[in-house]
Assembly symmetry: C2
Homo-oligomer: 286 residues x 2
């Protein structure tokens, strides 16, 4: 524990818009911290791409944030956390925090009053690459070998959410199609393994009913950050400083700005467009 402070921003990156759910949770929990957000909208989505490609993209995203002088990097994207970390995390001088390990912690935590000793049954939903990586399965098994994990890739959720069909009959039908077997198996906890999914959390809660606890990456990441501050892994911003949020995107500037303004609130959203060539070129030694 230290009394020092660090005025540098916390970096957050995602394949696109979804990481705003994490950014909002972090901002609400730590309003004094400056944030630097990168959405790689020119190459979105990551969740349908291979671990090799996702790792290459993640390296470029992290290098971009480091060039902007961040004190820590949050990989908001579950696909990056699952497929590229922790192999990547050791390569940098600043902490690089993924959501999978913290999500496993949160999923295994028992609510107060919850019966102990009962073997846990945890559902994990995410992109094809996240589910294919089995990262959540391994992270949960390391902590609780007797826990049962049921996974299901839900590739249509992101396009449906991007279409804005958050409470649409089609989205309900797709939920039913994907998740009826998981519901029949009787899970006690559902990990939303994609930053987009909190936007359909009400619909998922309806489908699974009150007996299933939902763990979302945004809240998990705010808790992980609180812990990193407490342990001195990241130093907090000096009190009374001015907290700024800078947004960078690689494409679709206007769409991102409109959605970020609506989602983050306020009227002072500062978004800059980064050429995707710049992202690629900057991270490779030519």
């Amino acid at each position: 524990v230290t009394n020092s402070t660090d005025a540098r921003a916390i970096g957050i990156f995602d394949s696109g818009l979804g990481g705003l759910t994490v950014a909002r949770a972090v901002r609400d929990a730590f309003p004094g911290e400056s944030l630097c957000y990168l959405g790689d909208t020119a190459r979105v989505p990551y969740g349908t791409k291979s671990a090799t490609t996702v790792t290459a993209y993640a390296r470029e995203d992290i290098a971009f944030l480091l060039r902007h002088g961040v004190k820590a990097v949050i990989a908001a994207c579950n696909t990056v956390s699952a497929a590229a970390l922790p192999g990547l995390a050791d390569d940098y001088d600043v902490p690089v925090i993924g959501v999978v390990e913290k999500g496993a912690d949160a999923a295994l935590a028992r609510d107060e009053g919850q019966a102990d000793g009962h073997p846990r049954k945890i559902g994990v939903i995410g992109t094809e690459t996240t589910v294919g990586s089995e990262a959540y399965v391994r992270a949960i098994a390391r902590r609780s070998p007797e826990a049962q994990v049921l996974q299901k890739a839900c590739p249509l959720f992101v396009p449906l959410i991007e279409e804005g069909w958050l409470d649409h009959a089609v989205t309900r039908e797709v939920v039913r199609e994907y998740l009826t077997p998981m519901r029949a198996d009787g899970i006690d906890t559902l990990i939303l393994g994609c930053t987009h999914y909190p936007l359909i959390a009400p619909l998922l809660a309806d489908f699974f009913g009150p007996g299933v606890r939902i763990v979302d990456s945004a809240r998990v990441m705010a808790i992980a950050l609180e812990r990193a501050f407490r342990k001195g892994v990241i130093l907090p911003a000096p009190t009374g400083g001015e907290a700024r949020i800078n947004y960078f995107v690689t494409d679709r500037y206007h769409r991102f700005r409109d959605l970020a303004t609506a989602f983050m609130g306020g009227d002072c959203i500062d978004v800059q467009l980064v050429a995707s060539d710049e992202l690629v070129a900057g991270s490779v030694a030519w």
Copy 2:
């Protein structure tokens, strides 16, 4: 008209798998031609990205095919044709053929026995970027100012097709949701402005009924190529030569190989993985 021949391959590129519908139509129409196919699966989809980004990607894709010595380039991707051509096409020594202009020709052609003089009403469906570009609207207006064009972006079709839900209740419901107004307006022709859409053509034909003629890019491109051979714009391969098809993808090698094998038939599918860095680096003068 010339009697010369040219043994070089015809290049075809697309953001991913969808262009295989074009490749198959070209191979079936011209079995003596070698083909060189590039699917940019590391950056798929193009249809949700800006014209600027799509143009940059298209330049890299074309440069890659030219490094492989093709005699012509087919932009199978409607988004590229709509957003990046014809601005791009003049920059190259070989013909670069897009699908929009040829699609407009095909849509306006009258079937034998069709009543003349009646103003045409043409529906166009495609990605957000294709529809937003209004390229089909302009191409049709240049040929037939009195024709009426109704457009609708259908961003969920590609993910539904990629999910394999080609004849699924959810896909039918999404078709109904997107296209009921277009059907109510009484179009006579529907342009499938995306290379994925032929895979749900039966479902769209069901929905619109027998009175609506469907124009798909694959057939349109085979006809355009026939015309280019006839006019000597492209020289045909020498007869009796060995026709080869080489496939290149920037990601998801196995998935592409399996699908291409199933879709193209035969057991000799030659797919190579190209690092996406190579694609980017090769086309830019550093």
